[in-house]
Symmetry: C2
Subunit: 260 residues, 2 copies
Amino acid sequence: MLCVGLDPDPARFPAGLSTDEAGIERFCRAIIDATADIACAFKPQIAYFASQGAEGALESICGYVRETYPDVTLILDAKRGDIGSTADHYAREAFQRYRAHAVTVNPYMGTDSIEPFFNPANNPDGGGVILLCRTSNPGGDDLQSIVSSDEHGAKPLYVHVAERTAEQWSQLGECALVVGATYPTELADVRRIVGDLPLLVPGVGAQGGDAGTVREHGSAPSGRGLIVNSSRAILYASTGEDFAEAARAEAERTAAKLSC
Amino acid sequence: MLCVGLDPDPARFPAGLSTDEAGIERFCRAIIDATADIACAFKPQIAYFASQGAEGALESICGYVRETYPDVTLILDAKRGDIGSTADHYAREAFQRYRAHAVTVNPYMGTDSIEPFFNPANNPDGGGVILLCRTSNPGGDDLQSIVSSDEHGAKPLYVHVAERTAEQWSQLGECALVVGATYPTELADVRRIVGDLPLLVPGVGAQGGDAGTVREHGSAPSGRGLIVNSSRAILYASTGEDFAEAARAEAERTAAKLSC
């Protein structure tokens, strides 16, 4: 159930690690090795690599996860979204260049921005798409909570996204939704709409969401379908040389709360 | 008024150009040199570089525009959008690594996903943010046209984005909006809401929007504030060795329609 987010910020690296691309790779590999038997997924956040010009480290880390821990899911957190001809290239970036099992996508541009992620020419191994629905951040309210009305009643934008994913987009291929741990009521709403569809739930740990509450509100009828992400609380559990051991201990604590 | 989009797709390169990173760079430089005195802006689309592992070429092209054509605006088309701590890194990617004057951003995650782009630590030269409002693609309808009602009447989601940009987000720093040429009525609606705020209008050329119609519906009260993008119609005007001359001719035709 636990996804370990890989957000390598050199400004927060433990003492003794270099802050260049080699340091980024060493940091991520140490976290991966320390938590791979606890995590169901790793989720590198591409912005942390892109700001440093460290795409080579990201390629290497993704390849390492795929080769060394074949049972762990690799999620590229990129929140892409663009017209079809451009989305072709974002899909190839995620599924071919970085060999991700799934990629996060922003739904604002609609169906034809999502379809190319399922085109076998871009995604030969049937990778999944994880659409933003109700995000964990405070500004998530600004657009996602705008309420519209139709003959079936009033519904906020994120409910439209959940319904359209359940009814239409998940027919294109494997879909999941992002719903923040910081909004447990909305998490329960989305779960009612989407049945057994997987939910990726960020916001546990540094953002303040509670793992037990997430399990209660977000578990699927099957008891599965929940992937809970923690990034900073695990990555930066210690700034000392014991950072990997501390990350493992924090990952174990979070996983225990999720499985109680 | 004309922005030339740089979407280098090796599958469509003219004969004689290699399809590797060196070819991508050569193709883009040739287009830039052929159109720089006609264009007010160049807009590299990062997906085309990311799918090829060609970030080095993108860095080089961006540096070339900044050094060689200092009066031309450099827009990084990346459509980023994420929580604040991640948005810090996307902002550094756009403004520091690629030295863009402005970057496109997806508003779905709200205010705190936009603010970091204006933080001087990420954006020391006061670069701008161009928010997606009403995109040019068919799927733009799916979420952007969902209508909500309040005491002031019914409004679609893209109008919320336009209003919030005019009232709030443009107070943070330089803002503009993306409104597709393929929706002239909506373009006029947005122009009424945002006054003199710049609009970046894609969808002229390969996507079917008409330059004259865009000028009529999108020009600001000042007569300015309109940046019209064409990518594929210019880039792939010819598949022969004359591709750069053909691109220049097509750019001239589009610019003429815009200034009539």
